[in-house]
């Protein structure tokens, strides 16, 4: 996908407001429409007809015209173009209606309930193919239905699609990759290696623990529990909604939630709106000076001017660690007066740290190196990704273990392995649609943080940033 987000211009930050500027009929905008047109040109079918049908089909879905009107309008043209048209005209309406109940034809799908769009969007993910390929395969018909835009509004809800039954947690994403994590708390032993890994990677200032591990006790268990807490990179991120300057935004390419260090005004509204407390403001001078950050010699404005390829090549050569693929300064620790938080390591994802680091994060690497492998980072929408594969594997394991115990439960339609997994999301009912899925115990209302087996002091980090910051307060401390 090449729709790059420039975060502040009229790009596509997912604000849902961009299309007001262009003339396109399609909810995804002019650019997408052009892409569709191009695809139709590639097929043997009539481009203009396809585009017209696409436009009207959107009107149909929005209820501006009736399906009978739609088919009346295109019946002839379709017969001519495709030789056949098994779509109903007004006369055939009653007849089709009767048939529909039996086999649910295209007509039923067009009426919207069990949307064909939904089906097709599943095809898309299942086959893991780009939209372009799918559309070509479907030919003019698919394009005519304007599926791309509609599909993005639907979630894949069919429980039997992936052969593993319903997913343990709702699919929160729109189309395209959505980076996230599966964190297996049962594997975590509180070693804080991920915390160290993140601090080293990002050179965050004292107490700004972007990755934070809470050790807690719950009322009815003596046992130590852990909660590994990076940013949840929410799909419906409140931090992003409230930002007055769009510095906090979701990157289009992979759904990562980032802060544009060049435009953030430091109002800290994102921090109060985030329910998870994952934001760390740069209150004073950062511990590590700007000059020491790899990539600090690259100028943000210049980078923005470069074509994508050239920019990425340049950033890779430089081993640039602070700019992401769009040339935006949003990686590593923020400058004074600007908000920071876990970034999902975008310069790794964009290949600037070398190919081998794409798809990894520093915390996951550290956790793996410690032999724990509790953190699994990857595209939550890709069944082949590490987190999805891990979920599947854990589901199978748990299923196998359980069938041994339960004797005779059968794998199949009703018994799905997901049912055996205790997977959950943090504060799910706040509607933030977090992209971190946890396995293991969920903290209850009486959960109380206690000192962990390894303390923050032991790893050279600071658990209480307030105390640390107090020494800079003018007038009260020993200033």
């Amino acid at each position: 996908m090449s729709r790059e987000d420039d975060s502040c211009g009229h790009g596509s930050c997912g604000c849902g407001d961009d299309e007001t500027a262009d003339e396109s009929f399609h909810p995804m905008g002019e650019e997408y429409e052009a892409e569709m047109r191009e695809m139709l040109d590639d097929t043997e079918y009539d481009t203009e007809l396809g585009m017209d049908m696409a436009e009207d089909s959107l009107r149909l879905i929005q209820g501006e015209i009736s399906e009978a009107e739609f088919h009346e309008k295109y019946n002839e043209a379709v017969v001519e173009e495709f030789d056949v048209d098994d779509r109903p005209t007004v006369e055939a309406f009653e007849e089709m209606k009767a048939e529909e109940d039996e086999n649910g034809g295209l007509f039923e799908k067009l009426t919207g309930d069990e949307s064909i769009a939904e089906k097709l969007s599943n095809v898309d993910t299942e086959m893991n193919q780009s939209r372009r390929d799918t559309m070509k395969k479907m030919g003019a018909g698919a394009a005519a239905l304007g599926l791309g835009g509609v599909a993005s509004a639907q979630s894949s809800g069919d429980p039997k699609d992936d052969g593993y039954g319903a997913e343990p947690v709702g699919d929160t994403s729109e189309e395209g990759p959505q980076m996230g994590m599966v964190i297996d708390l049962e594997r975590c032993d509180g070693c804080l290696e991920c915390v160290t890994g993140c601090i080293e990677e990002n050179q965050t200032s004292t107490g700004a623990n972007w990755m934070y591990v809470l050790t807690y006790e719950d009322e009815n268990s003596e046992q130590e529990n852990f909660l590994v807490r990076p940013c949840q990179h929410c799909t419906n991120a409140p931090c992003e909604k409230v930002c007055p300057v769009r510095a906090r935004h979701t990157r289009d390419k992979d759904g990562i939630v980032l802060t544009n260090y060049e435009t953030c005004i430091g109002c800290r509204y994102c921090q109060v709106a985030c329910p998870y407390g994952v934001n760390y403001f740069q209150w004073g001078e950062p511990d590590v000076p700007y000059e020491d950050l790899p990539g600090s010699e690259n100028d943000f404005e210049e980078l923005k001017q470069m074509p994508d390829d050239e920019r990425n090549e340049h950033l890779t050569e430089d081993n640039d660690h602070i700019h992401d693929g769009r040339g935006q300064w949003s990686d590593m620790r923020p400058p004074q007066g600007v908000m920071g938080k876990c970034t999902y390591c975008p310069s790794r994802q964009d290949g600037h740290q070398g190919e081998e680091k794409v798809g990894t994060t520093a915390c996951m690497e550290a956790c793996d190196a410690a032999g724990m492998s509790a953190i699994h980072f990857g595209d939550m929408n890709d069944p082949e990704s590490r987190p999805q594969q891990y979920l599947q594997q854990r589901a199978e394991q748990d299923f196998a273990r359980d069938t041994e115990l339960d004797n005779g439960e059968q794998w199949g339609e009703t018994v799905t392995p997901w049912g055996k997994l205790s997977a959950w999301q943090l504060l799910e009912d706040l509607g933030t649609e977090p992209n971190v899925v946890y396995l293991g115990n969920q903290p209850g209302p009486d959960a109380e943080q206690i000192e962990g087996p390894v303390t923050y002091e032991q790893i050279g980090a600071d658990d209480n940033r307030k105390e640390h910051l107090d020494q800079f307060t003018v007038g009260t401390g020993d200033d």
């Binding site: 809470l214 409230v242 004073g284 001078e285 209480n464 307030k466 003018v474």
Partner: protein
């Protein structure tokens, strides 16, 4: 005293005479303002680390504190002020005409301080204008902070228009008594003035007043300002529908208290006992009591629903709130002020302007404390309450407290300057008091 007949000489007196107290207050206010600018420059260079703010969550602090609390307080005074003045014009409460312009000026002064507080609060004030403007077309649809900025700007424009229009009448008639060196300013202000416009202007002002009154609860202090907090599900102390009415009553309480203080100070300074009469103060004191009562009422609602059978997170904040000494102080002083107001209503001999002054000061102290507490305590009790090991505590640092002194000094300076430029009491008010009024307002209250 009040048997003297007010005349236009009275209202131009501040511009003709400068007494000793003026120089003293001016000097003192400038000094305090300068000290504050010195402190602010330390904050600008070292960053907000010089405050007692910190990250909430694992860091155990609060990220919003006195700056935001004081911001709401100033905005409240400003919004209450313009509502007061609009009500006087809209409902023909001629009795209060002498304080209408004071309320408008208070709005302008307080609104400027609120705007200044936004700047003080930001980590990167240097980027403010550009970043906000650049993204405005999108953010105006989603960020309550942008709604705030929009509405504050809109009200600033409305109030200035209001004042600009009404002041033309006065300047034109009092021209000869006004200081000559400001002639260019007056020329500009009365550009194209003719007596025929008076009626039109009165009608425009009436419509503006209507706009202010209608939008006050919907958009203003009953709307976007509380929405900054009320819309966030993560902080149970903030979330909820009561914040709108709560904010509005606090705003009106603060504004009336502010106007009482202003009126009393000015009548002493310029011998305006016959213009800003005891009768006006008595009436304003009663209004103060009414809004104070609403304030207490809504607090009671929140506390009761919070402690009875609320969900755990709401319960935690409600308990924390009632056991917090600042909260007890805030409610305590408001109740004290209410006791006096009630007593003087029942028994008129209890009334004295000094007591009304004290009640107003107490009310303002109470609303300021409540607002600051509301902001930081909300952040100390989030829904996600697991960061137990790092319970920080917030108390405003000297620089933060300095900002209060600084903005109060700046607001005082604003009034000292404005006293020398335009009559702070309308000519209409004088005409009304002399029985020559021709204001369109029907009936007396």
């Amino acid at each position: 005293m009040s048997s003297r007949t007010p005349n236009s000489d009275d209202i131009v007196r501040p511009m003709q005479r400068t007494q000793k107290w003026y120089y003293v207050v001016f000097g003192l206010a400038s000094l305090l303002a300068l000290v504050w600018f010195g402190l602010w420059s330390i904050q600008l260079s070292r960053g907000l680390a010089v405050t007692n703010l910190a990250d909430w969550g694992s860091a155990g602090g609060v990220t919003w504190g006195l700056y935001i609390g004081a911001f709401i307080w100033w905005v409240g005074i400003a919004h209450g002020g313009i509502i007061l003045s609009a009500a006087v014009r809209l409902f023909g409460m001629k009795r209060y005409l002498p304080v209408a312009r004071l309320a408008e000026l208070l709005t302008i002064g307080a609104l400027s301080m609120a705007g200044f507080y936004i700047m003080i609060h930001l980590g990167r004030p240097d980027r403010m204008a550009w970043s906000v403007i650049q993204s405005y077309p999108v953010t105006v649809h989603q960020s309550p902070l942008v709604w705030d900025v929009t509405v504050i700007t809109m009200y600033m424009v409305m109030t200035l228009t209001y004042l600009g229009l009404t002041v033309r009448y006065d300047i034109n008639r009092l021209r000869d008594d006004l200081p000559g060196y400001l002639e260019p300013v007056y020329k500009l202000a009365t550009l194209g003035y003719s007596e025929r416009e008076d009626e039109v202007i009165e009608r425009i002002v009436w419509w503006l007043a209507l706009g202010v009154i209608v939008m006050a609860p919907l958009l203003l202090h009953g709307g976007v300002i509380p929405w900054l907090f009320a819309l966030l599900p993560s902080m149970p102390g903030w979330q909820g529908a009561i914040q709108g009415p709560q904010f509005l009553t606090i705003a009106l309480t603060s504004a009336i208290a502010g106007v009482i203080i202003l009126a009393l100070v000015l009548r002493r300074a310029y011998d305006w006992y016959h213009i800003l009469t005891d009768d006006i103060i008595r009436g304003l004191t009663l209004w103060l009591g009414l809004f104070g009562l609403l304030f207490i009422w809504l607090q009671l609602q929140q506390v009761i629903t919070g402690v009875y059978a609320a969900p755990l997170d709401e319960r935690a904040i409600a308990h924390a709130k009632i056991s917090a000494p600042p909260y007890q102080f805030a409610i305590g002083v408001v109740i004290l002020a209410m006791a006096y107001i009630f007593a003087q209503a029942v028994k008129p001999s209890v009334f004295s302007v000094r007591r009304s002054l004290a009640a107003s000061v107490l009310m303002l102290a109470g609303t300021l404390t409540e607002k600051v507490l509301f902001v930081f305590e909300g952040l100390e009790y989030p829904t996600f309450d697991m960061y137990y090991n790092t319970p920080g505590h917030y108390f405003p640092s000297p620089i933060e407290i300095g900002s209060l002194v600084g903005t109060l000094a700046l607001c005082t300076l604003f009034f000292l300057v404005i006293l020398k430029v335009i009559p702070v009491i309308e000519l209409h008010a004088i005409e009304e008091l002399r029985g020559e009024g021709h204001a369109p307002a029907e009936g007396d209250d």
